[in-house]
Subunit: 255 residues, 2 copies
DNA sequence: AAGTGGTCTAGACCACCTA
DNA sequence: AGGTGGTCTAGACCACTTT
């Protein structure tokens, strides 16, 4: 055995991170079972020979990681696995966009048109106002992965719109590289089946089920700037997530 | 104007949370644009009249919230919106399971059988070993929402299995109420179309696209205990997420 | 050399819970 | 009353980056 009970001051790893690892490890081994109380902070202070602030920090990290729950006056407890804690990330999507070398964006359609009722509603503008409608195909290694529809308010004086007008780039929008003046976004993951146009571009079959990721972006003044969706199927992109305690050291997030 | 530049010591809100709110607010207003540097820690200390530790804590919260990035020796910067930061949660699923009053779980099928190849593979057991196969229908307010398939290793001596053998309950498994001895889980969100059986129970149409949430759970010894999936469609459950800066005060997560 | 983030301490005070 | 988590300080030291 011989699990770290003291902190290695010479380690490149800060003390609080070592404590996090140590506790994670003990939970993973079943030494602290779900629902059980962890040693109190003052006990941990003695055990690890660190100040209370450092112990607190470690515990906060564990709380952030969803592994531990604290309750004032009672103690800190190992949290049982909970499905509601799961979160899915769009890392894969992100990676595609970041892989500049091998990712191409092809502009399939671009037109300025009067907003139909449904679009006007989504963008919170009067029906008939001019909007830019764009459709793009995103491929990686020449394999078509994602089809993108986007409707934007037509106002070239707005910096956001201007940035997006580089139609074949992805803009800072999706990679976060640029200094987009977008403040916030709302995403919605839905189901769809490929229509003929999409099936054609994605080289899928008509009627095949697909993910449809809808997005609405807002500028700094909380105005809706764009609305659209990405469509792709399971082969291209998958959503996976982990819950509970995996390995003992997963890059202590922070505090 | 008139935004809090000093901390209210009498507030129920801790100082670090007030700083978080203040900075969030300024980012939201566009006073700090994406990519811009925030005032240095020492400046913030003076501005808010707090110690460096308190400022650091506030900044760490902002980093956790994905709004700010720090870089040693350089400074702290407002992070541009990034799609990759989005995360989808299963809160809605969670809520259904927690709504005990109105949620019913109906056992549709339960049998002990020899593991087929595919199942054996998923559970990492020899083909032919006995597994429990369960199918359940989860309804809320008598509206069928989710259909659940689950395959479990047959070993009643294992506490996890024993707990799950209360077939019509959801076990602590999904609500986190119990002291399940599960250590970790792996989830996968996929696409499917309803088969006849599922369509029947969910009162949907055959062939309609649906979400399929696959799960694998592991016990404390890293053994795979169960494998299965939830199937449901968009009407029943939706996935939404936010990115960027929403309101100024969203329950400062922690540190 | 000066500025910036990152870590840590020893001790203080508070609010809450269990006796 | 005594234990537990939660917050905060004033100052220290380190590592990194810029000038």
């Amino acid at each position: 055995m011989g699990k770290i009970l003291a902190i290695n001051r010479k380690s490149y790893q800060p003390a609080y991170a070592q404590i996090v690892d140590s506790i994670r490890h003990q939970i993973a081994l079943g030494m602290y079972l779900p629902g059980c109380r962890l040693p109190s902070e003052s006990q941990l202070c003695k055990q690890f020979q660190v100040s209370s602030v450092t112990v607190r920090r470690a515990i906060n990290v564990l709380v952030n990681q969803g592994i531990v729950d604290t309750s004032q006056g009672k103690g800190s407890f190992v949290k049982p696995l909970k499905l509601g804690n799961v979160s899915f990330h769009l890392n894969e999507l992100q990676e595609i966009f970041e892989d500049n070398e091998n990712t191409q964006v092809k502009l399939v359609f671009a037109r300025i048109m009067a907003a139909e009722k449904s679009i006007a509603q989504k963008l919170q503008i009067p029906e008939g106002d001019r909007v830019i409608h764009i459709r793009r195909l995103i491929s990686n290694h020449n394999i078509p992965l994602i089809y993108h529809h986007q409707h934007m308010i037509y106002d070239p004086s707005q910096p956001v719109v201007e940035a997006e007008l580089d139609l074949t780039s992805l803009g800072g929008l999706f990679v976060g590289a640029g200094k987009t003046n977008l403040k916030k976004g709302l995403l919605n993951l839905k189901l769809a089946t490929l229509n003929e146009e999409e099936a054609l571009h994605l080289k899928g079959e008509f009627g095949v089920p697909a993910f449809r990721l809808e997005h609405t972006f807002f500028d700094l003044k909380d105005r809706q700037v764009s609305w659209g969706w990405f469509i792709f199927f399971e082969k291209s992109l998958n959503f996976s997530a982990k819950v509970g305690v995996w390995k003992q050291s997963q890059e202590v997030d922070d505090v």
